[in-house]
């Protein structure tokens, strides 16, 4: 007779950890994250990285869909203004992010779930600090339940 499958329960005192999706631009932030990695700078393991060509590639769809798909937080990171590999991709993106962030606040959805940052390829330390900060913010907000579907 086979053993009945016992559901493994998470120990009660284990803290809830958010899952955060991070969209990093290929030219700055992805390299920055890489630098943080090779320099062995510690940053939270809550983030899962998606590499995109430029922060201008980030559509509001990506961010909202991440939230509806159950991610607890979203990080978008690109080159500093003026450093964009495609000259102005991050500047156009910045306007989009501003509108999206304000709209989320207006709808009463926790705007802290969405975090935008600039980090260049040489700023491994800054990247780690900001990811730590974003993780803290999302952790405080708790699990993402506003987008839970009934069916």
């Amino acid at each position: 007779m086979t053993e009945p499958i016992v559901e493994t329960k998470q120990s009660e005192n284990k803290e809830w950890e958010p899952k955060i999706i991070a969209f990093l631009c290929n030219w700055c932030s992805y390299a920055g994250a890489d630098l943080a990695g090779v320099s062995r700078i510690q940053y939270p393991s809550n983030i899962r990285i998606v590499r995109v060509p430029c922060s201008g590639r980030i559509n509001a769809y990506f961010i909202i869909k991440s939230l509806t798909d159950g991610w607890d937080g979203v990080i978008v990171s690109g080159c500093h203004p003026g450093d964009c590999h495609y000259i102005s991709g991050n500047l156009v993106a910045r306007r989009r992010f501003a509108i999206l962030k304000e709209l989320l606040e207006f709808f009463g959805i926790e705007a802290g779930r969405i975090n935008f940052m600039w980090a260049s390829a040489a700023e491994g330390e800054r990247f780690a600090v900001l990811v730590r900060k974003a993780t803290e913010i999302v952790k405080k907000l708790g699990p993402n339940t506003k987008f839970d579907k009934k069916w």
């Binding site: 509001a60 769809y61 909202i64 869909k65 509806t68 203004p81 003026g82 102005s88 500047l91 156009v92 910045r94 306007r95 989009r96 992010f97 501003a98 509108i99 999206l100 962030k101 304000e102 709209l103 989320l104 606040e105 207006f106 709808f107 009463g108 959805i109 926790e110 975090n115 935008f116 940052m117 600039w118 800054r126 600090v129 900001l130 900060k133 974003a134 506003k146 987008f147 839970d148 579907k149 009934k150 069916w151």
Partner: protein, 343 residues
Amino acid sequence: MVKFMGLETENKEIENNLREIARELLKEKKVDVIIGYKKGTLPLLSQPIIIDSEEDIDKLIWNNLCYVNLAKYLVPRVPRFVDPEKGNLTVGVVSKGCVGRALIHLASENKINLDEIKIIGIPCNGVVNRQRIEMEIGEKEILEVSVLGNNIIVKGKNFEKEFPFDEYMNDLCKVCKIRKPPLVSKVPDLCVGECEEYSNIVDEFTDIEEFDSKTPKEKWQHISEALSVCTRCYACREACPMCYCNLCFVDQNKPVWFGKTTDLPDIIVYHLIRAMHMAGRCVACGACSLVCPMGIDLNIINRKLEKIVKERFDFTSGLDPDALPPMVNFKMEDAQEFMLEED
């Protein structure tokens, strides 16, 4: 106090002027067709009409029930006014302030050619919020609408009710600053009726301050309650002059971006993304709210967008056909206080 142009009497002057201008334009072959409003099939409604011969001109009306934004008929999602022999037709559009703004904004997005359009400008003092009246009356049928001074009198079987126009006006009309179509100086003979020059619009946005001061929880409660009745009929999208995409993001199924159900998250996402798309483009005509069969008040979202865009990018849509829309434009010194920074 806004003076209510009566449905029967006081607006006759504008209506007569409008017909005269329209007749002249058609007679002198300055335009091939005219888009305007005609009497609706129900007492509180008006209908759009497309006129190409002089006989029909007497069907043109103008009153406070003309809420459709006629610019919708000129954007590519619906067939253009094209003659197989003559090519593109010249179209005259009966324009209140927001229709004129929509036309100018569409021109700035290169969707229409202002050379093929004549704006027949008329001054507007707001449209009636039909849903609110219908909601107050309830299940009973409205048979007659008349006007006495500033009041709208709605009659039906065994009841008669008065509604003050100032109160039962569309919310966006209450704060409207652009009541006549903006005059475009670069196209001098574009305007044939009453138009006005607008250079810089100063707006205080006092109407949404109250909502802005609410806590996130209250905001969420308000928004989710208001939107939860949405049936996803997309009437708001169909009535909006700025929604001209050949394939809307909610209709896309390769990939399926967002759910198509009437579950609350799906509804919220639809309205959120639509609001995103309206940023810096909405011309505050209020057509989306006025066509909503569930009576959802989308005005508050549109008003907020107007505020964000005005404060952040100092832009008012639909005033200058040569201006670059804010969401395809950028400035090095744009505010970025929302970006995460090291302490």
